[in-house]
Symmetry: C2
């Protein structure tokens, strides 16, 4: 993830420390979406990048790339339990692109966006002057569900139960294909959770960089420690195939690109086995607790009743 | 602007022809900003790209690049006579970037955004896996001024007077520097024009690709023909220096990166010589008229009382 002398995490810390606040900004950089006061209500916005080599291989089809550029933004909307209303897309195209490929790309963007009720309303395109990878940035705009406050990352409490939707791992196949091109953002599940749980749904995020890394960020946002039980992690068939049954928990923690929801539920709340119109499984994978010391790791994982170090697991560490 | 077999204009035409509408989308792709119904009011959004080699040279400083990434979006807000409220920024960084350079870039983005009342609220960053140019996409969100409907491109009428703010040409110095890094978006001028003219301000856009190209788009948006009088074009000192006094009009039409406003005012309305808190000059440069035939050029230019072909002038034709 880094050049010779550059650390992305240090840049993000710099941004969080230096970006000035404003009266109308309720949530700035650092959550799945920003939240601002707008007109008489609230507006959510997020912006992601999709870059060849980083988020897909050159072998991917334009239809796959365009779909993913939108669905990973819709996944951010799901993480806030909000409703998408529009997207904008900017594409920097390689010099070798054909008219048919460019049209396939924007058609996939436009059609995927329309499917989620968030029509493509604007953007920009240009062609690289020299060599350069296909680069797409999608911005998604959203609004709160009626009667539902957006669910932030930082609202968790010590004692909360930790859940995930669906199953984890194996999203990126060795050939560059896999579930990361076909996943359905957990929008319906998110809305159903928010309505079912009300104020007992304390915090939520979507998993893109792997549970080991994202789970640590999730706990940090509430200044807590996440405890994960490896044996409870739900893993996909592709994950088991790639890692073996015995090691599938490592894939669930580290493979990344899951686009499942990680969420914190108040202690003691009984949860159903599935959620939403498609009966999507939800699984309790651990809990949140107070940090034992200020220097403690934000995420610890038990495997065979022993704490194992999973801090080196995670998509971007493999890059 | 194009690869071997790719035409950007054809892609834009494809987008305009195929993107589905939606009840809440009042203005979709094709204007300076999109306009949607949101909450009880209206929301404007635009998204631009800034790519090394295309919009700046590698010699540019991170402070220059970050400033320009924001100001060209604020110029889009000016073109709608709207008020900026927030920005999001996505940056794909070259592998050679240093921590200090990355911080200088985001500081310039954040500080410029805050200056215009549009704080940086979110975004994304990543580093190229291989070689690739510094690429920035900024999204700007805006809302209508109190009591002022956003000014679209397509509201002009035959007989309207055509004006520009400031002076044109010479924005890109031969060494890659120049006014395109230092221009002040015409936000205050735009608001003053909207308040002064009310419904007599029929249409407006900002000039980025040069008056020859953008003026044709402007006329097309209202299915009219723009008539430009070369001798009336205001040109910058840098433009005169680059093109000579006799040929400065060609620079004013073709150099691009002006970020001045082009606007259509109802026939017969008397205009002041300057507008806004900084007494920015405004100049009548021609008028709009009905297309003599459906195949006629959208923009014609008179020089020495003769029509001259300026269709080959324009920033991107030089690329």
């Amino acid at each position: 993830m880094s050049g010779e002398s550059f650390q992305e995490d240090a840049l993000l810390a710099h941004i969080h420390a230096t970006v000035p606040g404003a009266a109308h900004v309720l949530v700035g950089p650092g959550d799945d979406m920003a939240l601002i006061r707008f007109g008489g209500g609230e507006l959510l916005a997020a912006k992601d990048l999709l870059v060849e080599g980083r988020h897909f291989l050159p072998s991917a089809s334009m239809a796959q790339i365009g779909r993913k550029a939108v669905t990973r933004n819709i996944s951010d909307v799901a993480a806030m339990a909000a409703r998408p209303v529009a997207i904008l897309a900017a594409c920097v195209l390689p010099r070798s692109i054909t008219q048919a490929q460019a049209q396939e790309l924007v058609d996939a963007i436009s059609q995927t966006a329309a499917h989620f009720g968030a029509p493509l309303i604007g953007g920009d395109t240009c062609v690289h002057v020299g060599n350069g990878p296909l680069t797409i940035s999608v911005t998604v705009l959203a609004q709160p569900l009626d009667g539902v406050k957006p669910i932030l990352r930082g609202g968790a409490q010590a004692g909360d139960q930790l859940f995930v939707t669906g199953a984890l791992g194996g999203s990126l196949a060795k050939d560059g294909g896999g579930h990361h091109f076909t996943f359905m953002p957990r929008l319906a599940e998110s809305h159903a959770l928010a309505k079912l749980l009300g104020t007992n749904l304390h915090a939520m995020m979507d998993l893109s960089d792997g549970l080991a890394r994202d789970g640590a960020r999730f706990a940090q946002a509430s200044a807590l420690q996440a405890v994960i039980i490896a044996e409870q992690l739900p893993s996909t068939t592709a994950c088991v195939k790639a890692h073996t049954q015995a090691n599938a928990w490592q894939g669930a923690l580290g493979d990344g690109e899951d686009y499942e929801l990680l969420f914190a539920v108040a202690a003691g709340v009984q949860m159903p086995a599935t959620i939403g119109p498609n009966n999507t499984p939800i699984t309790r994978i651990g809990w949140l607790q107070a940090l034992p010391t200020s220097a403690a790791q934000a995420l610890i994982c038990f495997h065979n009743q022993h704490v194992v170090d999973v801090s080196q697991l995670g998509l971007w560490h493999n890059a």
